[in-house]
Symmetry: D5
Subunit: 96 residues, 10 copies
């Protein structure tokens, strides 16, 4: 089941640099593990923004919430979640 | 080069049904040709909306504008275009 | 799997009264069938608005989209869909 | 009498962790007591957000304000209150 | 129980003048009856707008919805409803 | 001459508690004096908000500005001022 | 007593040209009479817009509402009214 | 050449009082000099706001930017600039 | 003197095709004449929109308003005008 | 390939002055190098704002993101990126 998520990151200017670097490193590892498992289906950087558009493939809402609320950067993010469904004109097998 | 596009369709209530059906059929064919060519990389229906999120893979801005302004439903759509770039955490080859 | 949906109805002033009445009657029957089946879990009128808040319990996004896009009033509605998950403080069994 | 409430929580980053944990624990107990009493009728987590949709069943506006302004997290919340009434198509007894 | 309501009126330009005049006359009578009964506690015109701020005193949400949805101008209005409660600094007896 | 004012209060989290309590006490006295004088005609708490709707009866704009800018909480408030005039359907003597 | 008003004009495309021309001519005469009387203190066109910023000098809210609701273009305008008061730094006698 | 400017002032709560008072005093002198020179044509306080509407009469965009960016309060202000032109209905000589 | 203008075009669906084509042809000629004269300094199509960003070089506000209000498509456009000034970091001679 | 970018700068009030001055100096050098190379095609200051409109000429989205995310002021900026294409009415060679 697919969900579209926009993530905007706002790290406060007064967060110690080492702490920020640590969170960002953990975020990257967390994201790549989920990408490899197939649950984090797509991720693209938005040009000129500290933000991304992602597509998740999860078994239900609960699994999506668990993944998102577990993001190391979660408390510094604005998230916007949109449920998706196969488009009637889609031709590509993996767009559903 | 990738672009994220949100398309919202608003067909006026007084458009003759036959004309609407014809435009929608041409839209579907137009979209599927571009999907098969690889230029319209992804398309997903947004749940509960007459709207979709799409990702295009084009050689430049001009090609994207030619594709979008040629959509049979173009004059009944609100389009929102966002340029994308490979995310530094991406692992999937075709997310760029 | 639960989803929160806000529905705002805007019936155009020039829709013939008989046609409007017919759509509204079909909408009511459609809604009540789904409520009885348990898929349309809750529906409340918003005071002073031709609008409602509803909660749906469906097996996946596709089922929700099929239900919503099949609403007799669908083309006269603005819909806003929000995925829900059990709240960690919830005590009531059927809030998930 | 039913009210729909959206609650968004924003705990400042510089609140001491122990103080935050204490407030959150008191919030949970406060919510569960009201749920058990039947006044806090429903609560659902919004996927990907530190936020919930709730439905309250109170005897009047004053009781609702007393409950909301007494929330341990009140000063860190944005609240949006909407009065509800039984929907003319509702079939479920307890949706009013 | 008090509610604050903002009403904005938008009568379509193509509504026949006689029909508009009839609705407006019925609206005035409807409003004055409710004012005399004490349920429509206050009404003020907003300067430069075809709009008003009103305060209603009703026994519950259902009565308020019945009053508002019964307004002869209801389908040409945007309504915004806000529940009120006595202010802790209020000195005037009838502000609650 | 009547004016409708919405006041939203945002006291910063780092204001010393004693200072906040002192300002709030002075605000209450200030408001009650003006209510007794008849200049602050109405005040209602908005349910679930640290906010109120008020109606002022002043001799001109200058008097209103003097009152509002003298509020002890002024620098922590967002104010929205709307001039009012007697509604043509009003029946109550003191709604003008 | 001074008020700042922004006026945006939206004449529907299907209004007969002669009717539009007549309304616009009456609007101009109406405005110039009020300017000569001193009540419509200033009027400036906003560059690139069918809109103006104006300043009115009236004896009270009621007089302002009477003037604005009497504008021949009133039903085709969006009006935004802001009460003004002499600025503490003002040096010019007629800015109050 | 005339420009309409709205200025909203937001002085941070943690700015030392003496520093704030000094900036405000310099702002007043700066404004009054420009008013006397005729370049700052009008200034009015907005009722209930730490804000003003002003009209500037400058020889070009560059002169306006030099004036605005030189405001002692500039870094604590939100500015909104609108170019003006003589209104075709204006009768007053100095409204252009 | 430079101004940035965003133009969004909305031609109503019920405008006769021949009339629309005529207006568009006149718009093109009007724009190209001004471009050749140097007053319409730049024009770019926004990808996926019936809209453009333009830069005008005019002697004053009045000339800009005359140009914009004379656009054949003026009544079908939303215009947003922003005054510009040479940037302190600019190196290119003709960016002022 | 052209992109329109609006940049709004918000330097926090508590950033040490020397650090701010250093970042601003590096921003200027960075911008001027890119302008000389032809990649930062235009830059204009917005009157009354710490903001600019710019046009970039880059070979693809990736190059634009590299330039923008490398701006010394990047973390203190809000950026809004819009892809451009040659306008069908353009006459100037270098507007594409």
């Amino acid at each position: 089941m697919l969900f579209h998520v926009r993530m905007d990151v706002n790290i406060p200017n007064d967060l110690p640099k080492a702490e920020a670097a640590d969170i960002i490193a953990r975020e990257k590892a967390y994201s790549q593990d989920l990408q490899k498992s197939g649950k984090w289906r797509h991720i693209w950087r938005i040009v000129g923004q500290y933000a991304n558009y992602s597509v998740f493939d999860v078994k239900d809402n609960a699994e999506l919430h668990e993944i998102l609320s577990g993001l190391p950067l979660f408390k510094f993010m604005d998230l916007e979640v949109t449920p998706l469904v196969r488009h009637p004109s889609a031709v590509r097998d993996d767009d559903s």
